[in-house]
Symmetry: C2
Subunit: 275 residues, 2 copies
């Protein structure tokens, strides 16, 4: 799966993921705090873009942050070390083959991971096994189909669609955000509450114009240019027109909208079936 | 413009508008309260779907609620009378030809109106003239392009698109929500703050499944069936497939999303230019 990761793993990509985390911290993570003494699994931590935020917000919890990619984990380790965060243990592990005992975590946190998996329900089922009864599972995912903007532009939608199609070809799903509820219910979690986290950007919010529309979203779509052209999904000219129109939404009269979905569910003891 | 109103004006349509108002009251109006003694113009009140809510939330304010349609106003009068609300005066008037002196209102409220107008900027310019310096203009609009759901369905999007096209043919714009910010800025308002009001519906919110997805949104799209077929935008079979797929989103694993936009701006005295 590693080689198929649609966003790539260059330095610029790392910077993008770090920027994204910075801009969205409050919106996405403001309501996530784990109790002192709890043991939390961050599954699919990647380069650690959320790890420091998570750990700092719950200083009394002990985090185990895992990823399948050694390269990503090296960056994550640097980030954790640089931040002076001491309640995170970083381990290389595959969500589909977890080296942990059943019910060994009090809580599990999964952010921007399911979008990359061909079988997200399977990943949630595996994670559920290592969650103790009464513990919570938190899932955060974006949804590229939640993107719209002013001025409207078919070329811009086509450029976004290239990313959606490439992610699908790599076995992922860039529209997974809207499926967080059914996926969590399907994994046997209870009391599932999903809340949308909409990023609304106009010129009265210049920080978001820069950090989200430009440095997160447009940077992400621009990042698939070469792959999209190589895959025959677009031409250089078409793709450039789409990026130009996305940039147009950052002008003084422009508007840009994108929505993330955050779900929290509880594992009821009585419903565990040892799956 | 009257005869072109895309939603039609039958009894069922009135019920739909009333249901919609009931379901969305808190989301859309929870933060709108006008000071005692203020004089507020509700421009384009229609059948009065928002009027009673508005007036009850600001019992010390005096509302003038206008619409161009005598038929709609008759219903609005009934609604106001039935609710026992006494701080509303209902008057027949055209937003584009307002029978009020300059700067004669402290605040103006416009909800689900701009979507029906061929020249919304012109309407806002006219409304601005009757707003006193320092007064606020509030605009609330939906945006059908903000609709997405699970399971995904091209047929469902096509059915929605019929409504968008019919509204465009009637001179309106069903995607106007995302334009609230540029429209208000363009009308010379200051300190414009637009906030999205997203309606997120899954099976954990059965009240919204019924009141919003079924009785508001699907009812609205279903309402254009005959006109859409007559206009050659779809066939009976295609449209039915779209409605079926929209209904599919109300099942236990379904998700439905729609977003309204609310903008509030202030008229600065120094910027008034007597337009």
């Amino acid at each position: 799966m590693r080689s198929k990761y649609v966003h790539g793993h260059r330095q610029r990509e790392r910077q993008r993921l770090q920027d994204q985390a910075g801009a969205l911290v409050e919106l996405l993570h403001g309501d996530t705090r784990y109790p002192n003494g709890s043991r939390v699994l961050e599954a699919g931590c990647g380069v650690g873009a959320q790890t420091v935020t998570l750990a700092r917000r719950s200083p009394g919890a002990a985090f185990v942050s895992i990823d399948v990619s050694a390269a990503s984990l090296a960056t994550a380790r640097q980030a954790v070390k640089l931040a002076g965060v001491e309640n995170v243990e970083i381990q290389q592990a595959d969500i589909l083959d977890l080296p942990y005992a059943e019910a060994s975590f009090d809580h599990i946190f999964v952010c921007f991971v399911l979008e990359h998996l061909p079988h997200p329900h399977q990943a949630l089922a595996r994670l559920r096994r290592v969650l103790r009864p009464g513990g919570t599972l938190t899932v955060i995912e974006g949804d590229h189909g939640s993107t719209y903007f002013h001025p409207n532009s078919a070329a811009a939608y086509s450029a976004i669609d290239c990313q959606v199609k490439l992610q699908a070809q790599a076995g992922g799903n860039a529209l997974v955000g809207r499926q967080v509820y059914p996926l969590m219910i399907g994994a046997g979690l209870d009391d599932v509450r999903v809340s949308p986290r909409m990023v609304y950007v106009d010129a009265s919010r210049p920080d978001l114009v820069e950090s989200f529309t430009e440095n997160t979203f447009i940077a992400m779509i621009s990042g698939v240019r070469r792959a999209a052209i190589a895959a025959g999904l677009t031409t250089a000219r078409e793709f450039s027109a789409g990026i130009r129109d996305l940039r147009r939404t950052t002008w003084a009269d422009g508007v840009f909208c994108y929505t993330f979905f955050k779900g929290v569910g509880v594992l009821q003891g009585s419903r565990r079936n040892g799956q």
